[in-house]
């Protein structure tokens, strides 16, 4: 009874959709979170009768054959790459990226991570790090006697010192862009890693080559739209119930079969 298995693939698919929605809603307030979307494709088909088969000696051709589908499978959980709203925080090391691009982060494991979460902090030594304490690349150290950091749209960091009137340039933040952002691998902690699908990172100055710009004193909000998630949740739940209905029907037909002698 293949119908049982087909309906099971449908239930699994809807269940996965609910899991993805649950994760999106859980990350409603995560800085710079992009919602994920489960996408599905149909499974292979069983060819019962091929379209275009010759059905008679005079060369008549069957206009359409019989193909039976075998269900559904998840094809991708893709990221909806969208700009989240910018929320003013006033923090001098709170950076939002307006447009495309990621901050490069040196991971403790030795690799490079990428993030759009610009809630940066300073270590005791004055190094600029992410909330998790990973250094932002290129390495920028803010001297202890610096005050009033100002970061412009291009990522240039200026600081005022006690004895000087003009702000001094102390470093410049860069952005990394990807050909296919959807291909990045999320590793948790608002971090992504590059993959063969994303292409290699193009590191460049903010505001150039299609990269976005920095906004100091703002943080990018999660771009999850609760209304959309809830309508999807309703759809997923009903889809699950419909598939369950098919299982019930298939089961009852099977039991009718066993009752003939």
């Amino acid at each position: 009874m293949i119908a049982l298995k087909i309906a099971a693939t449908g239930m699994l698919a809807q269940q996965m959709r609910v899991e993805v929605i649950a994760n999106n809603l859980a990350n409603m307030n995560t800085t710079a979170y992009n919602p994920r979307r489960a996408e599905f494709t149909d499974l292979h088909y069983q060819q019962i009768q091929r379209a275009g088969t010759i059905s008679a000696a005079d060369g008549s051709i069957l206009p359409a054959g019989v193909q039976l589908g075998m269900g559904v499978k998840p094809s991708a959980i893709s990221m909806d790459v969208a700009q989240g709203a910018l929320k003013q925080t006033g923090g001098e090391l709170d950076l939002a990226i307006e447009g495309a691009g990621y901050l490069e982060v040196a991971l403790p494991s030795g690799g490079t991570g990428y993030t759009r979460d610009g809630a940066l902090k300073l270590t005791g030594d004055g190094q600029i790090v992410t909330s998790a304490g990973y250094p932002v690349m290129p390495d920028i150290t803010v001297p202890d006697d610096a005050r009033d950091l100002s970061i412009n749209a291009d990522g240039e960091i200026y600081a005022y010192f006690q004895d000087q009137i003009d702000a001094q340039f102390i470093g410049q933040l860069t952005l990394a862009g990807f050909t296919n952002e959807k291909g990045l691998e999320a590793i948790g902690g608002n971090l992504y890693r590059e993959t063969a699908a994303s292409g290699t990172a193009r590191v460049g100055e903010a505001g150039k080559d299609g990269l976005g710009q920095f906004r100091q004193g703002y943080l990018e909000q999660s771009s999850v739209d609760p209304v959309r998630e809830l309508t999807e949740l309703i759809e997923a739940q009903r889809g699950y119930e419909l598939n369950a209905k098919v299982i019930t029907a298939a089961d009852q037909m099977l039991s009718a079969t066993t009752q003939i002698r």
């Binding site: 293949i2 292979h44 206009p63 019989v66 296919n180 889809g239 419909l242 209905k245 098919v246």
Partner: protein, 240 residues
């Protein structure tokens, strides 16, 4: 006298196939660009008896693909496309060119526009579409023209075939075509939208109930046929 059982059997096995089709439709209720399918039963005359009456058996002969457009939902994705009209996108798979309605595309590491399953999307001339990595905002017009900063760079190909019923389904919401695919005339590309599955839950559940009840009816028929044969054997046995 044994044929009754066999005739009922053709109906029963056909109903099982139809159940499978309904199950597949419902399983794909949220598959982007999925087209629901149905089965048509045809009468097959297998034998004529001496009196000239026919014995008709049934078989699932024809599958049809419902060409209704599924509901489109706005996603806002730059590379999410829906087609308004009967056309299809063309993708290049290792096994040849295939048509699809699932317009959830993205770029790959080389910068080519690819489908969800990683196949290159073809332009109106049949070649892959390259999106420059530093493109920024990409706009797509209703005729499929892709433009970056007001400069057209390619045109997404929208194709149609003369007889959509001849299309063969393949996994990954793809359709294989045998004849030639021509540029579509009455189709428009909508950027930022995706076409959902055109499966209608109400119709499918109605069909499901119908199939189930018809199946039970067939089982009843087989039951009473069994009873009839048994009683005739019993009666005949008593006479001997």
């Amino acid at each position: 006298m044994e044929t009754t059982g066999y005739i009922a059997l053709t109906r029963q096995s056909g109903l099982l196939k139809e159940l499978q089709v309904v199950a597949n439709n419902i399983a794909n209720i949220s598959t982007t660009g999925f087209r629901r399918e149905g089965v048509v039963f045809a009468e097959e005359v297998r034998a004529l008896n001496a009196e000239g009456g026919g014995i008709a058996m049934t078989s699932a002969r024809v599958r049809f693909t419902d060409a209704d457009t599924g509901s489109t939902t706005q996603t806002g994705g730059m590379f999410d496309f829906a087609i308004d009209g009967p056309g299809f996108f063309m993708v290049e798979t290792p096994a040849g060119e295939r048509l699809t309605r699932a317009g959830s595309f993205s770029t790959n590491a080389e910068g080519d526009l690819v489908s969800m399953t990683g196949y290159r999307v073809l332009d109106s001339g049949g070649s892959p579409i390259f999106i420059p990595p530093d493109a920024g905002k990409v706009g797509v017009a209703q005729d499929g023209t892709i433009s970056i900063g007001g400069r057209p760079i390619a045109q997404i190909g929208i194709f149609e075939v003369e007889n959509p019923q001849m299309l063969l389904r393949e996994d990954g919401v793809l359709f294989r075509f045998e004849a030639e695919a021509n540029p579509a005339e009455n189709s428009r590309v909508m950027q930022g939208f995706l076409e959902g599955s055109n499966v209608n839950a109400v119709t499918e559940i109605a069909r499901l109930i119908e199939v189930q009840r018809a199946y039970e009816l067939g089982q009843n028929l087989l039951d009473s046929e069994d009873e009839r044969i048994r009683s005739s054997i019993r009666t005949l046995g008593r006479i001997v």
